[in-house]
Subunit: 582 residues, 2 copies
């Protein structure tokens, strides 16, 4: 019998003798490997934190004691210890890979972005104090999240608490990729001195401090947590763990196994055949600039792998590559100032994480009209977790003055836009990198993108005009073909290219020969592109119908269900059009 | 002759003997006092930094050496030393109170929000290194800005620079009001130990460190800056200055004179008669909850005065008041977690500064559906600096799922909304506090705001419907009256109350008896409220015209000019309506 079989709640953990806890750790690792091999997920971070999680649940009393896990991507062992092991391991889609209060009272918040745990925990601690309650509040942070500004703001405010507050820093020497920045040098110094260095970031902010070298030793961890339990002031417990612990490939190649697709256990680690992707043509573009000794600077904020900045690329770029660490706010200001200083910054962020940067986009970038290039990856309606949706970047970016936000639809268009953005010196330019398989026309795009807000008329027709943005240009083509086949309508098809403006001339010209304009965008409707078209025509007799996502957080909903729910299926759109033009 | 008369550029500062520099400092102080007394502005911060600025320009060579001033509200002496003294002192509206690259090559960026200087300076330093240039890059930060997450992200990344990088920390022991947080305790410890404490925040992040006790002593400052000039690594120069130096009332009452209205020199500091404002009814509301021993927590992020949280209020609230310091991101997560923990948080932010919090509003608040109340002050079209516009909060907040964003139009409505927001437990609620003189109906508002998105039909008419949001409800009334007077149209007048949704029933009902709907909102049109109404009617024959601000950064443009430019004058609107209904 496996030890995990008798664990149905944290109460059961407390009953285990120490010897069985090590077996439990092994059982949990098997569960993590099975889940990630079955459906993909975070591997290295969770393998590294198994013992910490067991010790936390052994010493503290969740849910009366409150845990807040940063990003909560390290919650896999926690899920298995809090009554969800069956679903987590075997019925995997029933249990998410992040904290989820709807699943369990042991998950205190829905969490998926980095650097929020300390802030949230400070709020819980203050509520406890105001309400005269007594319990421990424990924030668990690490794996790169400490460099985010929100974490620091929380640490600073925690310095004002005169009550129980425990921050567990899980230091596995890594972010998603390698760590960058002065903070991480301090963590290294603290590790090297077994916590005794005079330079101590946490102490400087008013925290008590404790170091635990053997972060994968349950006994040592229990001892440490018992010491700090019920403490009456803020303390940091700095724990040194091994990312990927217990699965050799993950221990040896930490970045590759930070998050992994399903099926890795059966495959040898073969070198996959290089295929051309939007990521690969981006890195080729940047390497080419580097080879020509141009002052290019490729920038990521801690997610190099997610934007195609693979290790060999980073090495080749050398000084022309910056990972600012998980610090999206800084990344925008940094890119803006690089442009101001005469360099050529190209910053790659994910749609969901660019949410951290609204004010920097507005103040540090747009107001200053610096010619930085921002690449926005993973902008799309999709089956992601609610914390990682890629649908809000259009309203976020496109309603800020001065920024040019572009939506390419194929390889050549993307390269032409990237080339223009890189070479010009007038505008901050963001490009929504297509989140669809790479499509090539084979014909170089010679469009002059400096003529802002000029939409491309792909096919001139009548009665119905389809304005199909970025990823949804393909959908526009399909609707156009169906209208021809089913209704014998030669619809107009437009690729707007620009998200941040409307082509007034072209739209005005449509009025004479068209009754209906439909807009298609792969993002949320509210505040988005289509509404601008609706506003443009709102005083005319032109009818407009906007297609996109509804304003809601969807959580791991399959794409076909999302499309159906949002009325984005081809037949739904055709039916709408039939009604609107009758 | 005044010394300042012979200063027309930093070159002239370099020629001065030390004795004349002290006189120059006195001349500059007179200039600051004259300007602020004439047109209002930042007083204490600039009086405190006169000597630092003289010494900076004496030692470094701007513009080849690059200065980046945080918030840049401490740029008054800098402006006077860089060829702009005449305009700054006498033709005041010609020269802004912030960095402005259009004015001078000595201003490296347009800056107005806090905590950006280090980030921007890191980018300038990296550009310098990539381009093989040699010059100093100097970020000047202080007066409360160091607690912002972006500053920390920049500090962390600076730890990776192996080249010249100088951060001047102007420590005047204050933020706008008193300082809060562990960081400021560390600064105090450093001051108390003359820089020798083992706990050193800056050293822990990899910086060299130097302390200057006499921060208003030009000779000491020159010595310090000469020592660090051309240094080949990142260093912090921590300078202890006196906020308000040289003007006794500002030295004694630092918060009151942080920023001051014009005319203070002629007036005695009389206690002004208390008048009822949206701020005062807010603090009364909060104090009442405190007196009833409810778990209310009033929160500000470093701007208590701007939201009416006056010193006596703060004192009375005691533990039920939190100033999280300048850390807007944290303030949202903190408020959300307070609600989660069972307390009653009411967080007050300014429209311009809530821009820092998009991701926290989305992830920490909205996704978690915690019932925090967020009060948004200063949301309006106005003559502010480009860095402080209050027009973007509607697209920012209203396109995030789950948040209820309310726009009251008078005292009773505001109180009813505040009361509902505070008492309910289902929704994150933001309220756009009116930025107009308080208007009272004298009749208690008994609306049940839990019935979301129910617009109020104020006057039922025909042909034209006016949907007038928040601050612009008054304008809606005026348009309604003019339509009656001039065109004999009994227009429908609607107070929508909710920014985050549309009242489908009411809007559908208008279709039968109306030809035109106009929307009025005191904010930017793009991504805003009106566009949602346009989208709603876009497939019908209803014409819609949206009124609000165009998507642009306006800089100190008088309100009447803004209204004219945006077509918001009553006659412009009436003329439009005439054309649209003919």
């Amino acid at each position: 019998m496996k030890i995990i079989d008798k664990i149905n709640s944290p109460e059961d953990v407390k009953k285990l003798p120490l010897g069985e806890m090590d077996i439990l750790a092994q059982n949990i690792r098997e569960g993590i490997l099975k889940r990630v091999n079955d459906i993909g997920g975070h591997l290295g971070p969770d393998l590294g934190i198994v013992e910490v999680t067991i010790a936390l649940h052994y010493v503290f009393n969740s849910p009366s004691d409150k845990f807040v896990f940063d990003v909560s991507h390290q919650c896999y062992p926690h899920k298995m210890l809090t009554g969800r092991k069956e679903g987590f391991i075997n019925n995997q889609y029933s249990i998410s890979g992040y904290f989820n209060p709807d699943e369990s009272e042991h998950d205190n918040f829905t969490i998926g972005h980095t650097s929020t745990s300390i802030s949230l925990a400070v709020g819980l601690a203050k509520a406890r104090d105001i309400l005269g309650q007594k319990h421990n509040v424990i924030a668990l942070i690490g794996d790169g999240s400490l460099s985010g500004g929100e974490a620091y703001e929380g640490l600073n405010n925690a310095g004002e608490l005169n009550s129980n507050f425990i921050v567990v820093v899980n230091d596995n020497e890594m972010s998603i990729a390698e760590n960058y920045g002065g903070l991480y040098k301090n963590l290294e110094e603290l590790r090297n001195t077994k916590g005794n260095s005079q330079n101590n970031f946490f102490k400087s902010l008013g925290f008590e401090y404790m170091y635990v070298e053997e972060g994968n030793n349950i006994e040592a961890l229990i001892q440490a947590f018992k010491t700090v339990k019920d403490i009456n002031k803020p303390i940091v417990v700095h724990i040194h763990t091994l990312k990927g612990k217990g699965y050799k490939p993950a221990e040896e190649n930490k970045e590759c196994y930070h998050w992994h697709l399903a099926g890795f256990l059966d495959k040898k680690d073969e070198i996959s055949k290089p295929i051309e992707t939007y990521e690969s043509i981006t890195t080729d573009f940047l390497l080419n600039k580097k080879e020509k000794n141009e002052p290019v600077v490729a920038i990521t904020a801690g997610t190099p792998g997610a934007v195609g900045f693979y290790p060999e690329f980073r090495e080749k770029m050398g000084e022309n590559y910056t990972d600012v660490a998980i610090s999206e706010e800084h990344s925008i200001a940094y890119a803006s100032a690089l442009a101001k200083g005469g360099a050529k910054p190209v910053l790659a962020l994910l749609s969901s994480f660019i949410q951290r940067t609204y004010d920097q986009l507005s103040q540090d970038l747009a107001l200053n009209k610096t010619s930085a290039t921002i690449l926005v990856f993973w902008g799309t309606i999709g089956p992601m977790d609610a914390t990682h949706l890629g649908i809000f970047d259009i309203p976020l970016i496109s309603n800020i003055p001065n920024i040019v936000y572009l939506a390419p639809t194929n390889k050549e268009e993307y390269l032409a836009m990237l080339n223009w953005a890189y070479n010009q010196n007038e505008h901050p330019v963001a490009i929504r990198v297509p989140f669809i398989p790479l499509k090539s026309t084979g014909i170089e795009d010679k469009t002059d993108y400096s003529k802002l807000n000029k939409f491309k008329m792909i096919k001139k027709g009548e009665k119905v005009a389809i304005i199909a943005l970025g990823n949804f240009f393909n959908l526009g083509e399909k609707i156009s073909n169906k209208l021809k086949d089913e209704l014998n309508i030669e619809a107009t098809l437009i690729n707007p290219c620009y998200i941040t403006g409307v082509d007034k001339d072209m739209l005005n010209n449509l009025k004479e020969t068209h009754d209906l304009v439909i807009t298609l965008e792969d993002g949320v409707l509210d505040g988005g592109f289509g509404e601008k078209i609706s506003r443009f025509y709102s005083t005319s007799s032109m009818k407009v119908k906007n297609y996109g996502a509804q304003k809601m957080f969807t959580d791991r909903v399959p794409l076909n269900e999302l499309y159906k729910m949002f009325g984005l299926e081809e037949n739904q759109i055709i039916d709408d059009i039939k009604k609107l033009i009758k």
